[in-house]
Symmetry: C2
Subunit: 267 residues, 2 copies
Amino acid sequence: MVTEASAVRESAVATEVIDFNALRKSCGSCALAQLCLPASIGADDLTRLDHLVQQRKPTDRGTTLFDTGSSHARLYVVRSGSFKTYVDLPDGDHQVLGFHLPGDLLGLDALPSERHRCSAEALERSTVCEVPFNDLSVVASKLPGLQQQLYRVMSDQFALEQEHMVMMGRRQAPARLAIFLHSLSERRKRLGLDPLELNLSMSRQDIANYLGLVIETVSRLMGRFQTAGVLEVERRIVRIRDMDALRAMAHGGDTPTDTQKSASSSS
Amino acid sequence: MVTEASAVRESAVATEVIDFNALRKSCGSCALAQLCLPASIGADDLTRLDHLVQQRKPTDRGTTLFDTGSSHARLYVVRSGSFKTYVDLPDGDHQVLGFHLPGDLLGLDALPSERHRCSAEALERSTVCEVPFNDLSVVASKLPGLQQQLYRVMSDQFALEQEHMVMMGRRQAPARLAIFLHSLSERRKRLGLDPLELNLSMSRQDIANYLGLVIETVSRLMGRFQTAGVLEVERRIVRIRDMDALRAMAHGGDTPTDTQKSASSSS
DNA sequence: CGGACGTTTGAGCATATTCAACTGCGGTGG
DNA sequence: CCACCGCAGTTGAATATGCTCAAACGTCCG
């Protein structure tokens, strides 16, 4: 067997919080293992999976991992950095489908024989693991645990898209932005990062496209949230100062101009 | 003796008139086989799949196939009739996620160990085939063709949701309705039904919830489309009189009163 | 220092919502 | 058989939310 994790040739990549020495070796030692495919499969199964996984040299900001129409069926796991997936609209701009943080999977929309229906672009210098889907499928068919995990992440993906649709559905602009920020905060918490300090790697334009709004609206709302004391906005750094208020606005109608809505600043 | 060709074609899938003898026997003899899981798997493999599939007694209008939070992992294939999937919103109403016609799969959002994140309700008296997901998974792991097909339908599901998001994204109300009607027409064509005569099994409220609009807007737009000569609306029967105009409006061309519409896509 | 870009801010406008009344059809019961 | 009620859908007028257009701002980079 070809034992070596054939990707240790990559030199260290700078990111703030992630320990790349631990990451680089194998799925077994990956800090994201619990979030990724290997979660809950045995040690020797892990080895078989390890052989499929290819490392990629860092993807630069603005570079696409795959494009709409391409058909190389591969799954990607974000290791560091972040991506956006989007489709091009006839009128020139994009519909952003999602933002993808470490541990998230990309490429589920082009399973074998299908073509990608969206593009995935790095929002900053990022690294991914890459798995040829056909190989993964073969191994998974022999490892019920892995197979189950594969179904689970696909199921999760459906859940994410459904959430997105609910948000776009009939919610007002302030609620949309609140949902977005709150969800980002939750995801950071899950990654072990500070949930109160968001480091937005995406532009305002991306956020607007994701929320189904226009950039000016997003900008104005950021301002309103700040004057309302909910956020502290400093370009792409956003600090959440009143999580309860943010949550409240995400869940329903709320006017952020109303500064004193209910003296709530507990956490 | 009012026997029209269109009526006969309609009856191939319409609820009341289904030939249950032909349908009930097996996947091999099912009129929907090409659209369903069995597509492109061999004859003996089909037998193994057949044993997993359970028939269900017809589901009455308003009855749910599964509800948010329930966790029996089963896949359903719509045989006749139609369903809507939706999530309940805190403020009382629903966000409709999709409408499901014969050949469509339901239940992909609650693969093993997960709970359903939406509910599925019959819009009329409908029938489904039911497959326990765990059993299907086991069989599929031994039949690469079936496995591939399973991935394919999941991939298709992602594509559908993405389309929905694009529509909700930044499109104006007329374009949304046009997309909805056009998509319905396409799906009818794929089922061998008359693509020009839509028999809406869902209420205006459902349509509005699906499109992210309010019921009045949908109603008004139906009217506008009719006076523009694009549609002929008769309660829940909608006939498409100008498919090109409908398509144009779906792509962003506005002004349903304007018959002249042949602009090329700009960038 | 200048130019470009991403972002913010402002004023006016248009689209879709809200609120409200009304229609037509279907069912139910007198 | 008809009168009644109820529900789904339609229509109208007024409002408001988010968009368009436009300009200014700050920061990054040459």
